[in-house]
């Protein structure tokens, strides 16, 4: 009613102080949510978030916005379900409209064997108290009539549905957590790239940055995509390769797809944004990359998958595509653990599934940093699970990051 006049900045442009009790490296979803839950749930003193670019320019602002907790392994299900519960209360908690939309996630199956695997996954979810529903072909057809049910190679047989899954406005998640953390006294320092991690007697004491030296009692790394680079500064290696993932959006269309649909015979997932663009993605490009762009054969592969499942999107025009860098771990699951250096903590390895985990990764990482003990639902995300053989490999493809 006031013509959008009088908007104040949502968070202060903080200047770096010489010393903080906790410094979080990375102003993406993980770093901002960690800072927020540290300030809200734990009494740890002064907190800063250091972001090398501007807030929200990394994966938090480039992803395909899907949330779900339809995992199949014990180490994963409770963690992602905590995340889903936090999404359900997020907007009230941070007092920010993140457009959380539980429109349902439909995983389509195309064979008897895949139906059985999905039934097993759905049962595992329900045993953990997560909602899951198995639809047969005719039940699915009543809800989503436009799939290519009689495709000669990939006939649609039905779907595993998580109705509480859906989408969230990704930028609003960054802005909302930033504003809520700022209101609780967190310094969010943008354009401040960490160039070195200072150690004394085997413990971290601060960071060198492009805006000078900043002392820290504890440091949390939350820079998925660049985790190995930060680990290298601190003198250790990680079971991670950095890979490029592309995402795509079409021109704006009238309401068409009112849920999230994934293709079971290839790798393709699609939803429609509130602006009307069809937002979709598929596989990572498959080789190591720090260039935030992909190659055309993957574009072709993703579009082929899309047209095989939803032929009508072949008529839509692709508006833009972009790439981002993913921390692909050796088992496809993340790491929330102590780093091998004292007072340094690690939140890494989110592969291409970090967005849905943002609330829980912050909640659990804050718990780890503040109490120096893992949160119970993230206790399996240990760094030493690779040496111990306690991998969390949902796909079962082994130590081959580009296949997860």
């Amino acid at each position: 009613m006031r013509g959008h006049a009088g908007w104040a900045p949502a968070w202060r442009k903080a200047e770096p102080a010489p010393q903080y009790d906790v410094v979080i490296i990375g102003g993406g979803g993980g770093g901002l949510s960690t800072a927020y839950y540290l300030a809200k749930n734990h009494n740890v003193g002064r907190i800063a978030v250091l972001e090398k670019g501007w807030l929200g320019n990394g994966s938090i602002g480039r992803n395909t916005t899907i949330i779900r907790s339809n995992y199949g392994l014990p180490g994963n299900i409770p963690f992602y379900e905590l995340s889903m519960k936090l999404w359900e209360g997020l907007e009230q908690d941070i007092n920010y409209n993140a457009m959380v939309s539980q429109r349902g996630v439909f995983n389509i199956y195309h064979s008897d064997a895949q139906r059985d695997a999905f039934a097993r996954r759905g049962n595992a979810m329900r045993l953990h108290g997560v909602d899951a529903e198995l639809l047969d072909r005719e039940q699915l057809r009543r809800e989503i009539p436009y799939l290519d049910y009689d495709n000669a190679r990939f006939p649609v047989q039905g779907a595993l549905v998580q109705r509480r899954g859906g989408t969230v406005r990704h930028d609003a998640v960054a802005w909302g957590y930033a504003r809520a953390a700022d209101r609780r006294g967190v310094d969010i320092i943008e354009n401040c790239e960490v160039t070195g991690i200072i150690q004394e007697n085997g413990a971290v004491t601060g960071v060198e940055t492009t805006r000078g030296r900043i002392g820290a009692g504890k440091i949390g790394i939350a820079v998925a995509g660049s985790s190995s680079l930060l680990a290298n500064m601190a003198g250790f290696r990680l079971p991670i390769e950095s890979h490029a993932l592309q995402a795509f959006v079409t021109e704006g269309l009238k309401p068409l797809i009112d849920n999230v649909i994934t293709f079971g015979a290839g790798h393709f997932y699609i939803s429609q944004s509130d602006k009307g663009g069809l937002v979709f993605g598929g596989d990572i490009d498959g080789y190591n990359s720090y260039a935030a762009r992909g190659n055309l054969p993957t574009v072709e592969d993703v579009c082929e998958g899309g047209v095989a499942l939803v032929p009508m999107i072949g008529r839509a025009r692709l508006l833009r595509s972009w790439g981002g860098i993913m921390d692909m771990t050796m088992d496809g699951s993340p790491i929330i653990d102590f780093a091998p250096v004292k007072n340094l903590f690690l939140n890494a390895g989110w592969c291409y599934g970090g967005f849905k985990a943002v609330p829980a990764m912050g909640h659990c990482f804050a718990h780890l940093i503040a109490r120096e003990a893992p949160h119970e639902v993230a206790a399996a995300y240990r760094l030493d699970r690779f040496a111990e053989g306690k991998l969390i490999d949902e796909k079962g493809v082994g130590a081959q990051p580009n296949l997860h």
Binding site: S228, L229, N232, R237, L238, P239, I240, E241, S242, G286, Y287, N288, S289, Y290, A291, N295, P297, M330, F386, A387, A399, Q400, N402
Partner: protein, 83 residues
């Protein structure tokens, strides 16, 4: 991205599969080595920016295994050798 295969000439990246880092070396004593050595070989990676050596497999071409030196920051192919 195109990779100049020593057998087939320059071919599109869709003909090749990236398989793994060629900078790690397999422990020589086939299982008798301490676990840390095997953990480092199987799981741990430098994963830094700049030129790196990688194993690529020419899966829809001559089926050769190649050692490709590639700048992972720019995707530039610097060198292709047979292992």
């Amino acid at each position: 991205m195109r990779i100049p295969c020593p057998h087939c000439g320059p071919r599109g990246v869709e003909e090749f599969l990236y398989t793994q880092d060629a900078e790690v070396t397999r422990p020589k004593d086939g299982g008798a080595a301490p676990t840390k050595e095997w953990t480092d070989y199987v799981y741990m990676r430098d994963n830094l920016k700049g030129p790196r050596k990688e194993y690529w497999y020419h899966s829809t071409g001559c089926h050769a295994w190649l050692v490709v030196t590639r700048d992972v920051s720019t995707h530039e192919i610097l060198k292709v050798e047979l292992p």
